[in-house]
Symmetry: C2
Subunit: 487 residues, 2 copies
């Protein structure tokens, strides 16, 4: 059993005169008075620092204390945890022994107490968790991950570590990263380590579907990669994606059972936020990230505790609303039936029309992916049984669909996208070892397939939305974007 963290000490019931404790942490600030000095000590367990008081008359002399307690130094303190007579904290540590574990020369330490720009901190990414904001984000990230696991466990999903390296390369062609052929290093070996070109995964969905067809309910939180060169505040080259697939409870009608999909996503998000809001460290962190004057915590509580289901509207209704407001709002891109919703449209719907999370359902097939279940393909504008979840200040948080589980319809879709050839010979028909890179996927539909659906949530976007953090680069421990790679 490791010793209690500062978080535990500050919330313990046991403060008293004989309560001797030992604590390690980093000096955040120091304040010297005539006979006593105070240092604020942080160990990363909470945004609240421990106030440590040094009685300079004892074995601690002024010059020693002041010279060693520089910003960023790591110290171990022993002493008594007592009720604090000062304002601003309930407890403080009366230091009896001080040991400097690691000094921190102010002249070279990058984390100064002044305001530091985001870009400066990205350039010092190995130290930026020493800042309050990044530390708060890391704790929030961990907490949200725990909440996600807790939800999926309650619904009996099995976590599947789907592969990172894959032979698939088509989704978002040209935007995948490829493993270099190994001939440079192994002149005598095959030029491809895996015999086929290997790519970094862009989505675990297809793999999850294979496991869904045996385990019923599966999910993953996996690293995902896109060789995107766009520099927006919502894109990273390496990010974490939460994805789930499960068998739908009610038989899909022609529209697919989109309501169950939306219910699960909504329940997951509400559960995860409620899980985070129940923890005082987490609400302090969110307060810290948003500033003392904001009501982000209240806003989140109202999202997770709302009595009614979040609103749901179809794509067609949404475009109608946007078009009706266009004259007044004047979007940069005019909303148009049959086209994707632009980012400005998504935010407008969530921020101004609904003023909260909203599901937009049943998009046109032409703007969505080939594996989504089609609805009434005889319409002029064929639709698919899918949804996007839009939230204020972010736009798209989650997207998902009922999957096309009808063999012939899926096969025709895949042929249209060039994923399988029209002339099948043997491999996929027999269900044996796959020939083409997607034959195995089609083969799933021939052998005990069932109506199922799933969704994906970009985890950094979720962290950013809950934490009120503007840029996804500040929602991940070490960001990866085009043009640079640190650490």
């Amino acid at each position: 059993m490791l010793p209690s963290s500062i978080k535990k000490l500050l919330t313990s019931e046991t403060a008293g005169s004989d309560n001797r404790v030992s604590v390690s942490g980093w000096v955040k600030s120091i304040r010297c008075q005539k006979s006593v000095s105070f240092a604020m000590i942080s160990d990363g367990s909470t945004s609240n620092s421990l106030q440590a008081g040094f009685q300079l008359s004892l074995h601690l002399n002024t010059s020693c204390v002041v010279s060693s307690l520089t910003n960023g130094a790591c110290v171990r303190l022993e002493g008594k945890l007592v009720d604090s007579p000062g304002v601003g904290q309930d407890k403080e540590l009366r230091v009896e022994e001080l040991q400097v574990l690691g000094a921190c020369p102010p002249e070279t330490y990058p984390i100064q107490k002044k305001e530091l720009s985001l870009e400066y901190l990205r350039n010092n990414v190995h130290f930026r968790a020493r800042t309050e904001r990044i530390a708060a984000m890391l704790r929030l990230r961990d907490k949200l991950m725990q909440g996600i696991h807790s939800y999926f466990k309650s619904q009996e999903f099995v976590y599947i570590h789907t592969p990172i390296l894959t032979a698939n390369d088509t989704e978002g062609a040209g935007e995948t990263f490829r493993i270099a052929p190994t001939k440079e290093t192994y002149s005598d070996a095959l030029s491809e380590f895996f015999s086929l070109p290997a790519h970094l995964t862009v989505s675990s969905q297809l793999h999850l579907e294979a496991f869904q067809t045996a385990m019923s309910r599966v999910y993953t939180l996996n690293p995902t990669f896109r060789a995107e060169r766009s520099h927006t505040n919502r894109h990273l080259a390496e990010f974490w994606m939460l994805e789930a697939e499960w068998g739908l409870s009610a038989p899909a009608n022609d529209g697919g059972d989109l309501q169950e999909l939306c219910d699960v996503v909504e329940d997951l998000v509400r559960h995860t936020i409620a899980h985070a809001m129940a923890d005082a460290t987490c609400t302090s962190d969110i307060q810290l990230l948003n500033g003392p004057a904001t009501s982000r915590v209240d806003a989140l509580r109202s999202v997770s505790d709302a009595l009614a289901r979040w609103p749901r509207m179809t794509y067609t209704e949404a475009v109608g609303v946007l078009q009706a407001r266009h004259a007044q709002r004047s979007f940069a891109i005019p909303p148009q039936l049959g086209a994707s919703l632009a980012s400005e449209h998504e935010r407008y719907l969530a921020e101004e029309v609904i003023q909260g999370p909203v599901f937009i359902t049943e998009y046109p097939q032409v703007v969505k992916a080939w594996y989504m279940r089609s609805i009434d393909p005889s319409r002029e504008m064929p639709l698919v049984a899918c949804f996007d979840l839009l939230v204020p200040h972010m736009g798209e948080l989650a997207g998902g669909s009922v999957r096309e589980d009808r063999y012939n319809v899926l096969k025709a879709n895949m042929e249209r996208y060039g994923l399988v050839s029209g002339q099948r010979n043997s491999t996929e028909e027999t269900g044996a070892s796959p020939g083409g890179p997607y034959d195995w996927y089609l083969s799933l539909r021939k052998h005990g397939s069932a109506p199922h659906g799933g969704f994906g949530i970009g985890f950094e976007r979720f962290v950013g939305w809950v934490g009120g953090i503007e840029h996804v680069k500040e929602c991940i421990p070490v960001p990866r974007t085009a043009g640079r790679i640190d650490l």
Copy 2:
């Protein structure tokens, strides 16, 4: 709220005459009698199938039931869950409605009821979770992951998603995978997407150390990659690694505080096993994986519940024991002071000398990594403050060390390994943006570093050890090894 799984139905208290339920799953077998047929249905939630009885006199006719209930078909059943009059199960489902969600033609379905070889199943990896053994492994994997999170949460560790893509390339040089330069696809762009060559991580340790120096206690369970061509039953090209780093509670003496390191690893492994053993589904799965005649579950309980700490011996003692037994045991590789322990030595120590888990500590510096804390370098054979945890039938399960936190010693080590140049100019000294790929790591030691240590556990090995699974290819959903890449 999604409907109850078969696991929940089988363990529910509510079986009775009016207990109507709906359940979906895959047919595992069917047995026909004159007026009633029985099918065993599995949904992946437990190794126990639900027995479904079809009264053929009702609206279900024989030919319909028998022809549709083929092995692997996906069905939805409605009916009453009742106490079973038969032997072998407590409850069964009296089916009133049958819906075939997905047929499964026996002539092409790869998962036949006969014994299937491991290699055959690897060739059908998209369907192998339909077998009882792989499904049991997937549930065990999930359960162990939950146990790991539960332990680290109890000890206040923060989960950190360390990066998968990294500029580091030296550890195990030549065995890393490299991202292909993008010039093939982007003729007008820089040849390197990230401006520097990017590699897939071989270990999260160094990155975790950066976060340790702000959050005190950190861990990760991350995909890890080695371009290894060796075909053993313990190696994969893509695997998951559990790694942790934390500040040591007691100041490191010259030997480093190895005991605390071993304590945490032992507590983690015991806690995780106890967590799994407390779940009846999990113990059934382990029983299934090991066969009914084995006592694997009892063996695991005795490992997790042992009153005394697991034995610990130094490398020097271990070599002494091995040498004393060599005459009688005749190892292929004679044990020798100053050399690595061979796999046969490791297994012999755990299986025959100790007959259980054992920590071997303080190896010679020459056989271990450059970042480990050295002990008394003036000895003839300098040692490092490290350990390996050896377990029966597996050998090395975990390895870790106190990290070298003394700036000058670490710098000299890194120079010796060519990781930093001897002539430093500016970047690392100032703690600013790193120049060489490891400057940032050295810089950590100058700014509030503290004695700390950590360890790594190959997650597939852990799954294999607990589950009694021989090959790591059967411990991961989709294995990746040299020469092939499926799905």
